[in-house]
């Protein structure tokens, strides 16, 4: 159906998918920031992707793009590759969750479907990557995101960390040092009214820790109630 979807195009599609999934519009400038490209380059690529035989995106000047069904499929294929590779690097090569993103970012574009199938099978068909993000199924259905933002909790609520929405290595290493890892159990002690800084207590750890919104909006948890 599609000729050869290049690495660059795969990156564009992935970012469009992610922006759209986060409820934001896939505007030229948002794409340019995420992809670290000049806005003019993004415009050019959008025009191209919208005008290939089976279009990958739907493009309306000055109002961003949306993925077509084919574009969405291609994006999910790359995201599935990315997340399976991350899971597998952690599982079989002892990588930590902060190291896998950059490696997966390169491998995701070159592995075969055979390879994808073999790692999925070797890992027992995992549903989530090392950050708790859902892995699209082999037939490219994205499972729903897990958990609610930690920022939404009120004092004295208890919760369990399900997912961390981040890819920056430094940020992830920091969370790891705090003990804020997948499966960690915590209790919200208090929330400061003006800056939303949250005091939490991690089960099995001494002392409390203070977390700003930059963190609490990226950590997703389940609550018992």
């Amino acid at each position: 159906m599609y000729k050869k979807i290049t690495t660059s195009v795969q990156d564009y599609l992935k970012v469009i998918y992610e922006l759209t999934a986060a409820g934001q519009s896939a505007s030229t400038s948002a794409l340019a920031v995420r992809l670290k490209l000049a806005p003019a380059s993004v415009t050019g690529m959008m025009q191209k992707l919208a005008s290939t035989k089976p279009a990958l995106v739907e493009y309306h000047k000055h109002r961003g793009v949306k993925l077509t069904a084919g574009g969405r499929r291609a994006a999910l294929e790359v995201i599935r590759h990315h997340r399976l590779i991350e899971a597998w690097l952690v599982e079989t090569l002892g990588y930590s969750w902060d190291e896998v993103h950059s490696e997966a970012e390169k491998l995701e574009h070159v592995i075969s479907e055979e390879f994808e199938a073999r790692i999925a099978s070797a890992l027992g068909y995992p549903l989530r990557d090392p950050h708790g993000e859902p892995i699209p199924s082999a037939d490219l259905v994205m499972p729903p995101d897990q958990g609610i933002a930690l920022a939404k909790l009120k004092p004295v609520q208890e919760a369990c960390v399900l997912r961390v929405h981040a890819q920056d290595a430094g940020f992830l290493k920091h969370l790891d040092q705090l003990g804020l890892v997948i499966g960690a159990r915590l209790e919200v002690l208090e929330v400061s009214p003006y800056d939303q800084v949250m005091q939490i207590q991690l089960r099995g750890r001494a002392g409390t820790i203070a977390l700003g919104p930059a963190i609490t909006n990226r950590v997703f948890v389940s609550t018992s109630d």
Copy 2:
């Protein structure tokens, strides 16, 4: 030292290394055939590789190229990646020796040094890939090739298969079906004088098999004497 050695350049360097190691000259046309490119493209690339700050090749018009020390290092780095990846696909994902080449061909260009180190360690620092080819060491020294060509043997000599110099999937699958795999033990029964067809008997297998030079020149063995 070197800016960014692209995937294409890595491919050129690898083929130059292989031709040179096989005692052949790395001529424009030989490179063009191996890389499946037009000769004119090869000439252009050779001129470029010879004229970058620290040159990767030494180039003399009409008489092919030789790798510089830097070029050789870059080539060995890629070959080490390739062979480690092959070993690791067979070892951990159950690939067969005829399936690994094409996958490794893509992955070799994108893995990090960290990844290389981790698979080398996970495999216990293997010395040879699934075809018996030597894996350059971490400090980029290529171990000597193992074995002598099966074609060199005389009737009634016994031998053990150490290495198969081939990457074509069909060819390797064929050898596998014959039972001509790494470690197989065999006895040369007779060699036909005009076409060099060799009759061999594989230990643990019924019947004899006949092999032409296209095969016996690519299978390398050790003999007891």
